[in-house]
Symmetry: C3
Subunit: 306 residues, 3 copies
């Protein structure tokens, strides 16, 4: 199956045909993974995994995805970026690494770095997060998780909780859900951390129904409750943080009589009581596995091996 693009830098590139194809291939990958652990379709191919800022979770997910399809991996990580210190441009680094590798994924702290990289890359390029801007593979794994957990994405009701202002993840997912029919959003956040206009304007433009609230407890009658971290450093007034933080800690008590599936991009730092983990609708560790599965799909599709 083929995609409408050679490089993946943003969820905005994705058409409904693209997401349909990715979800289909991901399902095949999940079956392959559970039956045989992987195969050798990417034998002889090398992924360059470039992480200008550390993100162990995302990096290991890409790397294990590549290895499980028989490919190989080279890694450059954080402090190892000597050429960065020598003042090389991102474009030159990518033109060099593209001589060695068959495909590149990159995490970089600077917004827009992914577009720079894709503009020159001689091989397929995947954005693994460029600062505050985009992290498209996170949105794709969330989409696959919703499909698996709920059985449909059209007609979904999703509640997003926490820091909706700075959370790159919820923005990317919101845009991606805009490709589907009749999705409704409940947006729960402190007043300081409401969803930014770039997203709510998008909702209005597409005629997507959404409501905003500060109360998590009243918003749990949804198909999905998507939790995120609220970071202390976002608050000018620490007492305001102290007042709010308890409102956004999900416990088993909240879930009594509820039927919602719980997602979280992880890492969590207290927003979900570990006692919730044993709830069969706590999907966040399955979500992690879906990250590897959807990256297996993307790597094989971009390398024409799906």
């Amino acid at each position: 199956m083929s995609l409408s693009f050679k490089h993946l830098t943003s969820t905005k590139q994705l058409t409904r045909d693209d997401t349909d194809a990715i979800l289909k291939v991901s399902q095949d990958m999940e079956t392959l993974l559970e039956k045989k652990g992987g195969d050798n379709r990417l034998q002889g191919k090398v992924l360059a995994s470039l992480f200008y800022e550390p993100s162990t979770r995302t990096r290991l997910s890409f790397e294990t995805a590549m290895l499980r399809l028989g490919g190989e991996v080279v890694t450059a990580d954080g402090f190892q970026f000597s050429s960065l210190y020598k003042g090389e441009t991102i474009e030159d680094t990518i033109m060099v690494v593209g001589q060695y590798a068959d495909i590149i994924c990159m995490r970089h702290p600077e917004g827009g770095s992914a577009d720079k990289a894709a503009s020159v890359s001689p091989v397929p390029f995947i954005n693994a997060g460029d600062g505050p801007k985009q992290h498209p593979t996170q949105a794709i794994l969330d989409l696959y998780t919703i499909q698996k957990e709920i059985g449909h994405i059209d007609n979904l009701h999703i509640t997003m909780v926490g820091d909706l202002r700075y959370g790159r993840t919820v923005h990317s997912l919101s845009f991606l859900l805009g490709l589907y029919e009749n999705v409704t959003f409940t947006l729960v956040s402190p007043a300081e951390l409401t969803m930014p206009e770039k997203v709510t304007d998008f909702f209005k433009e597409k005629g997507i129904s959404y409501t905003e609230s500060e109360e998590m407890e009243k918003a749990l009658d949804a198909d999905i409750v998507y939790m995120t971290r609220v970071q202390k450093e976002r608050f000018a007034d620490q007492s305001e943080y102290d007042r709010l933080k308890l409102k956004y800690i999900l416990t088993p008590k909240h879930l009594e009589g509820k039927n919602c599936t719980i997602m979280h991009p992880l890492p969590r730092v207290g927003e979900i009581d570990p006692a919730v983990d044993s709830n069969p609708r706590a999907a966040y560790f399955r979500e992690v596995r879906n990250g590897m599965i959807t990256r297996m799909a993307l790597l094989s599709m971009l390398l024409q091996a799906a």
Copy 2:
């Protein structure tokens, strides 16, 4: 061959049946290594090698062991632990990494971290050193080295030299040798660095014969002389360190007319004169190779491929 455990966190878990099986499989691995360099029995399996503190030697030993059996490796190392900085618990990290990998080894500076990890790991877990507590694979490679060098472990006479108080290695090995018949210990250390009661109490309880001494030279009539680093920073009185350090530097002169095999967990920083290296009974570099061999055995046994 099978083991009595799924996760290896401590030598205390090991039964005599376990060590018998591990030594047997290690011998098979050594034969395989010398004949063919390895095989493909772990093809499709991925080891996650998590080192929260650096230990290049141990990490490369695990990773080459995995690769030589056809497996694959992903690594997270030191400064790369972003999620640690974001406040994620060890348990969450292991539950995440266990979604990606088929087996995990972890080095962590905190005592007890290995037990926390093993308590939640969805895949086999191996402790590669948890702070001051345990480093079971070091003890296993030492055991295999003794078997290879001396031909037997029952009826062994072993002299341990140096920092016996803080040396995790000599404690783990002492407990492990307690599984064997009629092993006798000579314990040579400065008064500040004698073997702790947790070990000598174990000797008394098991009826194991041991003697303590400050004199290395008189203790070299043993099957094994196991040297360790004495660290300057252990001494309140530096002149005491200066007086002692020369007593514990093994030179070719010490070994004249002796028949003992020399072991050392490495790295050494002066305790063994490099002129000793050419002595055929200097076993410490063979010990290093035995580390890879015994880890090949453990990885394949825990992954049901031995």
Copy 3:
């Protein structure tokens, strides 16, 4: 094909027979790479890639070279060198790593470290740069690039531009070109950064023709123009640097009506205007790919698989 050495620490070891063989095998590797991406001739072999100082470019080049021939790689990089901090000698580190791996490459900041390593290594050893001294695989990839781009190395006219005093790369390449017939050099640099006597004495001794100049523009009628970085920190007088730096920035205008091929060891930090990149004789990114190709050749020759 075989080489006159087991370990490669310096270009001074290389005979004309060696370079002939390496260029021949490199050509085979390039054909293999373009046709099939690689093969499995190094299956079961493990490269230890030891970088005591970061050099992402060189490290990824060695590692992808190994992986493309079916070999495996373990990496130790920068901050991860725990044993270094514990005071272990280079010799001990190499004797340990040589128990795990089948071949070792090492970058180290200390001149002479490569010779120390090679003197004890139980497996083939390749110097990937030892401080100010040698970086032989860079010179080999440059040689292969010249052969590919120009079609011959005998009778070459090469212009070297920039920091000729401290540039390890131009020294190594100069010595290596001394193996060939009738090579002539034009050496363009600021007065502060002229070619050192160790190289010009070598030219005189071998009867090699060279001229020195401060003017880049008049020196572009050569087969090869080899550009290098001029580092600001080399100048006591910053106004002198400001005066000179513009003289050594190559732009499309300089190349009008010229027929020279442009090389650069990279990274560049302004010496070559990116507008030059589209010139078909801009060879510096092909040079990068040739780095992987020549390292595929060297790894397979040193492991007796060429």
